[in-house]
């Protein structure tokens, strides 16, 4: 056995180089922020509609809204706890709004609305203060007096006989409100008090969201008597929990994967140094991947990180090939025989995943960059560092001989199964062609939220009904006045939709902050004292309400004429400020956006088509249905990923074609890969799994890993005989891959388990098929 090692100075230089790179990577990683929200899976170059969607998902009210339930005990106890919890939350300053159905919520707002009723009331027009208009308005007010509803109006009668306050209040009644029990919101189904709160911090600020959640839990623990249960849901909970879950899962997977793979390697090599050396390219690859993504994207998504665990499966293969194959003739011989094949396999994998780097979705591009740089790092570590550490491969014998024999037996027997396997492949293709709805998973499939958490969220949302702003009209303009005027144009078109039942109601900032033009117009209709007094006398003649009582009305109308208009600045610090802030946003570029959430009629959905039609032709206006927009986005995303995966696969074939320079050999290599993909997809289709983007990424991985196997069989054929050591290395590499992806298949994070469930069976199939379809060595009789 020739043991030609590198000169000691070169060895030390290589190791120092490697160490320096690892340290640099570690430093970069320590400065990296890790994210877990869906934003990385939203397009980086959005169209205007997507931009609004992203804003809403990132910092909009839905992203900051907590839904809180208090379960247990009786209604009175729950209501007391709800009030105490709401008070503590309001005092904490962490929340912009906290609502639990207490009427006192509206006390301050009510006083403000009464004071500003004339610029705010939609009923004030040119007719309102004429004799006929006054008579009509007073009649309408009187029609409520003497009924239970009248008791709120009666104290205002002398100041507001035309009922402007009533008009404003009426428009604020939500069509869908939670049930009220013992003075606070309660669930319709069971024993639960309800609260809604929006945090001050943006939805994307996970640390602040986490702090807000801790505050709620601590406040509840402080105020709630025993027997009560706190339930929290909403986007911030999902985001914070997802981050924690991804962190713990990644840790768990990394540990379980490392232990499992190490055990296999120990059994195979029976040598600790070999084990350590085998894990080295893996660690290098993971570090390289995270570092590259961190440098390229400024942050790493949790799912990308979770994906890092999957790299163990492929990167360890390189080490295994080296350790086993260089044992025969030393590392120099391996560099000549084995390394070109590994290098070709690496190139094909990089080609396959390289296509993803150009995705318009940062999340997918991250996965691509991570894989490409991770595999490159692992391969380079194998090529340059392994020969320094273990120049003669692994010394240990372990189970290698048995593995080699098993491999040889398989190589001899499997080709007999070619035709049945081909038939299976054709059947799978037919099945896939017959099932048109194979690709149907949703964007939600990328998120690790559990079914229980989703069920709790759905039940709280149903209880709160109005708390879910899933449909909204978005109005934008260059300045605030333009935006408000456009919002007013929208509300004029929405009102008929309430009558037709397409929507139950709408919210708009213009209820509290009409455009200046609209305010001036309303105020211009307010008559001076003398004509108003004369008109009132005429309008109340023969009626039960005497004009003499209405002097306060005349006086307040005069005061309203003098008052300066309501502005955004004048609303700051009032009880209305949070409402206004939620519905009117200033963008970083100075433009303004008004959001008009639409409420469905009870038990129904907003009729999006009717709304879109009603809004046609309004400038700067669009309807945003978050659920549908997300679904469309995912569809585009999936379509783009499919094209890229196809391009990647073509790249793989092109690289192999260039390297093999033979159509026959290329066909022999591609055949098992294609069959492996078909059979894997066919099995998933049989199991009625809806395929999503991560299944697609998994299939790419099958092609990447499988191409290594196929190329090795091609190499074996050239060598003329099935070398037991190479076969053993292939079998071992495959076992580690199947093991590590099998672990990932069991992950509670759907995105990871999707990859695992594709790659674990896919890789096994790829090896068996490569063996079955390997060209027969020419020397076989």
């Amino acid at each position: 056995m020739s043991s030609s090692t590198l000169p000691p100075r070169r060895r030390i230089a290589v190791l120092l180089c490697w160490l320096a790179l690892v340290l640099a990577a570690g430093w970069q990683i320590s400065r990296t922020t890790f994210t877990a929200d869906l934003s990385a899976f939203l397009p980086s170059d959005p169209d205007p509609q997507q931009r609004v969607l992203i804003e809403q998902l990132g910092s909009g009210v839905p992203a900051r809204t907590l839904l809180i339930g208090i379960d247990g005990a009786d209604a009175k106890v729950r209501a007391d706890a709800s009030r105490a919890l709401a008070a503590k939350m309001r005092d904490s300053g962490l929340f912009e709004q906290v609502h639990n159905g207490e009427r006192s919520d509206w006390a301050d707002v009510g006083a403000w609305l009464v004071e500003h009723r004339y610029p705010l009331s939609p009923a004030v027009d040119a007719q309102r203060f004429t004799v006929a208009g006054l008579r009509d308005a007073i009649e309408e007010t009187l029609s409520l007096l003497g009924t239970p509803a009248g008791h709120l109006l009666k104290p205002l009668l002398e100041r507001d006989p035309t009922g402007e306050t009533q008009r404003i209040a009426e428009s604020l009644i939500p069509s869908n409100a939670p049930r009220s029990e013992a003075g606070v919101w309660a669930s319709r189904q069971g024993a639960r008090a309800l609260l809604v709160a929006s945090t001050r911090a943006a939805g994307s600020d996970l640390d602040a969201q986490s702090a807000a959640l801790d505050q709620v839990r601590a406040a509840f623990a402080a105020v709630a008597p025993p027997g009560l249960d706190l339930k929290i849901s909403g986007a911030p909970v999902f985001a914070v929990d997802s981050r924690a879950q991804i962190e713990s899962e990644v840790r768990w997977l990394a540990i379980a994967g490392a232990v499992g793979v190490s055990t296999l390697l120990l059994l195979a090599f029976a040598s600790l140094p070999a084990l350590g050396a085998a894990l080295l390219p893996v660690a290098t690859g993971v570090l390289a991947g995270i570092t590259a993504v961190s440098l390229g994207f400024g942050g790493v998504h949790g799912i990308t990180l979770g994906f890092g665990a999957t790299l163990i499966g492929e990167a360890v293969d390189y080490a295994i090939y080296f350790l086993i194959q260089s044992r025969r003739a030393g590392w120099r011989a391996w560099l000549r025989s084995g390394w070109p094949t590994v290098r070709l396999g690496l190139l094909t994998s990089m080609c396959g995943f390289g296509a993803l780097i150009f995705s318009g979705f940062p999340g997918l591009a991250q996965l691509g960059l991570f894989t490409v740089s991770g595999l490159l790092g692992a391969a380079l570590a194998t090529r340059f560092v392994m020969p320094v550490l273990l120049p003669e491969g692994s010394r240990g014998q372990g189970l290698r001989r048995q593995l080699g024999r098993l491999g040889q037996a398989a190589v001899e027997r499997l080709p007999a199964l070619r035709w049945p396997l081909l038939a299976l492949g054709v059947a799978a293709a037919a099945l896939l062609a017959a099932r048109g709805d194979l690709w149907r998973a949703e964007l939600g499939s990328l998120s690790p939220i559990s079914a229980e958490a989703l069920a709790l969220d759905a039940s709280l949302r149903a209880d709160l009904s109005a708390g879910d702003a899933r449909s909204l009209v978005v109005v934008q303009a260059a300045d605030i006045e333009g935006t408000l005027q456009r919002a007013e144009a929208v509300t004029a078109r929405l009102d008929p939709l309430i009558d037709s039942g397409a929507i139950g109601g709408w919210d708009s900032v213009t209820r509290f902050l009409p455009s200046l033009a609209r305010q001036r117009e309303r105020l211009s209709h307010l008559p001076p004292a003398a004509p108003l007094r004369a008109a009132l006398a005429e309008a109340t003649r023969d009626g039960p309400l005497r004009a003499e009582r209405l002097e306060p009305f005349i006086e307040e109308v005069q005061r309203a004429r003098e008052r300066s208009p309501i502005t955004l600045a004048s609303l700051q610090g009032t009880a209305l400020a949070p409402l206004v802030d939620a519905l009117l946003l200033r963008r970083a570029d100075g433009t303004w956006v008004a959001l008009l959430p639409l409420q469905p009629i009870a038990g129904d959905q907003v009729d999006g088509a009717a709304v879109a039609q009603a809004l046609q032709g309004l400038p700067g206006t669009q309807l945003l249905e978050i659920g549908r927009a997300l679904a469309e986005l995912y569809e585009r995303y999936l379509g783009e990923a499919q094209v890229q995966a196809l391009l990647g696969a073509l790249g793989v074939v092109a690289v192999m074609a260039l390297a093999l320079r033979s159509w026959r050999r290329l066909l022999a290599v591609c055949q098992p890969l294609l069959l492996a993909v078909l059979l894997t997809m066919g099995t998933l289709a049989l199991l009625k799994v809806h395929l999503g983007i991560l299944h697609l990424v998994g299939l790419l991985l099958v092609v990447a890993v499988g191409s290594n196997y196929a190329l090795f069989f091609d190499m074996l054929q050239r060598d003329g005989h099935g070398d037991p050591d190479t076969l053993a290395s292939l079998l071992l590499a495959n076992l580690t891959t199947v093991l590590s992806f099998g672990l990932i298949a069991m992950s509670a994070i759907p995105a990871l388990s999707a990859i695992g469930r594709v790659v674990a069976p896919g890789a096994l199939l790829a090896l068996l098929l490569s063996a079955a379809f390997a060209p027969r060595p020419a020397t076989v009789p």
Binding site: L145, L157, S175, I498, D499, I601
Partner: protein, 201 residues
């Protein structure tokens, strides 16, 4: 159901010593599955010169639909179905969830509970007192909920057998409303023949 109710009525008539109570009244009321009536309402409000008058129709169909259409002096309507209240005034329609407003829930429970003979619903929201006999009874409802009691002191309903005759609402302060209810001729197919007393105008 009807037989059982009839038995109760017979028992009430045959045994005058037995008190006519809420259970007996409820059984009587539960017989009716739908009704169409006219009403005239007179409201007395302190501070106004003279009463406010209005008129219109009331309709009810079991189990939970109740509508009040005011025709004079202004067209208005309130329709309650299940948990949804639709109010139409001045050409504008508003919808809301009934159980979001506890006071409204109680008032609607009073109306629907009376129309369907749901004694439990009445007793949940009110202290109920029944006087008289099946031929002429008076039911007085006093709100249990403090918030409603601050607005409505009591409701008093006078009826003959299964039919309502007057509904008097005493509000906080001295305001009150008296509604006189007269049956309309049965117009809906499937509605039960009316007693002779319910002859049209």
């Amino acid at each position: 159901m009807r037989t059982a109710a009839a038995l109760v009525v017979l028992a009430a008539l045959g045994l005058p010593a037995l008190a006519f109570d809420l259970t007996a009244l409820a059984a009587l009321l539960a017989e009716r599955k739908s009704a169409e009536t006219r009403f005239t309402e007179e409201r007395t409000v302190s501070g106004l010169d003279g009463p406010l008058r209005s008129s219109g129709t009331l309709s009810f169909s079991a189990p939970d639909r109740f509508a009040r259409h005011t025709l004079e002096p202004r067209a208005e309507s309130m329709v309650v179905e299940g948990n949804t209240v639709s109010i139409r005034r001045g050409g504008r329609t508003r919808q809301m969830a009934l159980d979001a407003v506890p006071e409204l829930t109680a008032l609607i429970a009073a109306v629907r509970g009376t129309l369907t003979g749901d004694a439990a619903a009445l007793q949940q929201h009110f202290r109920v007192q029944v006087e008289g006999n099946a031929a002429l009874w008076t039911m007085t409802l006093v709100p249990r909920d403090d918030r409603l009691a601050a607005q409505v002191r009591q409701l008093q309903i006078v009826g003959q057998r299964g039919e309502l005759r007057t509904l008097e609402l005493s509000l906080a302060g001295s305001d009150r409303s008296l509604m006189i209810i007269e049956p309309l001729p049965p117009a809906l197919p499937g509605s039960r023949p009316q007693a002779p007393a319910a002859a049209p105008r």
